[in-house]
Symmetry: C2
Amino acid sequence: MNPKFTEVEGLAWGKLLNVHSIMARRLEEMLQTRYQISHGEFEVLLRLSWASDNRRRIWELAETSVLTHSGMSRLIERLVKAGLVRRETATEDKRGAYAVITAAGLERIAAAEASNIELVKQHFLSLYNEEELKQMGSFWKRFLNYEEQLAKDETGS
Amino acid sequence: MNPKFTEVEGLAWGKLLNVHSIMARRLEEMLQTRYQISHGEFEVLLRLSWASDNRRRIWELAETSVLTHSGMSRLIERLVKAGLVRRETATEDKRGAYAVITAAGLERIAAAEASNIELVKQHFLSLYNEEELKQMGSFWKRFLNYEEQLAKDETGS
DNA sequence: TATATATGCTTGCGCACGCATTGTCAATAG
DNA sequence: CTATTGACAATGCGTGCGCAAGCATATATA
């Protein structure tokens, strides 16, 4: 009833929080000042740019993000106002709408993604060698597999 | 001008974001439902409980957090309303104010911290052995040392 | 077909935040 | 002693978010 972290545990977890916080701040500041988009908007534009037909349903974008449906609805609204995305009502289901990335959006996200990758390489990845990066990846994979298993067990019960 | 992540890099960085996001959500939900506090409030209460005299200046709390001074001012206001903290104007400098954690606050934060540690152990730390946790810690230490060096270089120039 | 329920998105409301400004006090210069 | 400057905290305003409710459409049931 009186749990404590060992020193090693405290470093492994606590400093992870610090690392994330520093990198997240840096990335957000860069995206805002250079490209006038938030990190959430960045991720949405990225997903849209990956889509074969440059479009995704709004609920789908919400599911795979931190936001709720209403939050995503407003985020798309901002991107529409900025001319980076347009809405299209779905022909096969008139309740729904697609967010479609525009040419301006594609241009913006290509530049932003390049800056993003450069920044992460310079400030994070460059500090570790190939072997270490592999190990990091395996750590995260183990966690995410465990999470997936948890989710399955829950639906199964 | 067309940077890309290698597969290994993409895993080491991208999945780190996923891990953080999953854990952060879980922690915040737990703190909110069981203890009616946000993660930011949790961290402030924790700092106050560590302080020898159970008090810290408001600007000091702001500096070592994600918030600005105004944000911290309001966060303290909420904690005061909740009876977990009280304000005391600093006797040695009447411009300033201390946030002082109350008995109720100490009680709340002790329970919340225990839950927090348990949750992190169960869902994260338990997946790795001592050796692996040490390695993780060394990764973060390397990053944070590098950051510190950067900051020094900047002030030095 | 008629009715009930579910789904996809939007909107009203309240909350927490940052920015810019203000109020209050301290420190220093003349 | 007074004026100027600076530091700490509080506050007005705008923004983005979640929650809950609403609207339109789709699906299931009889």
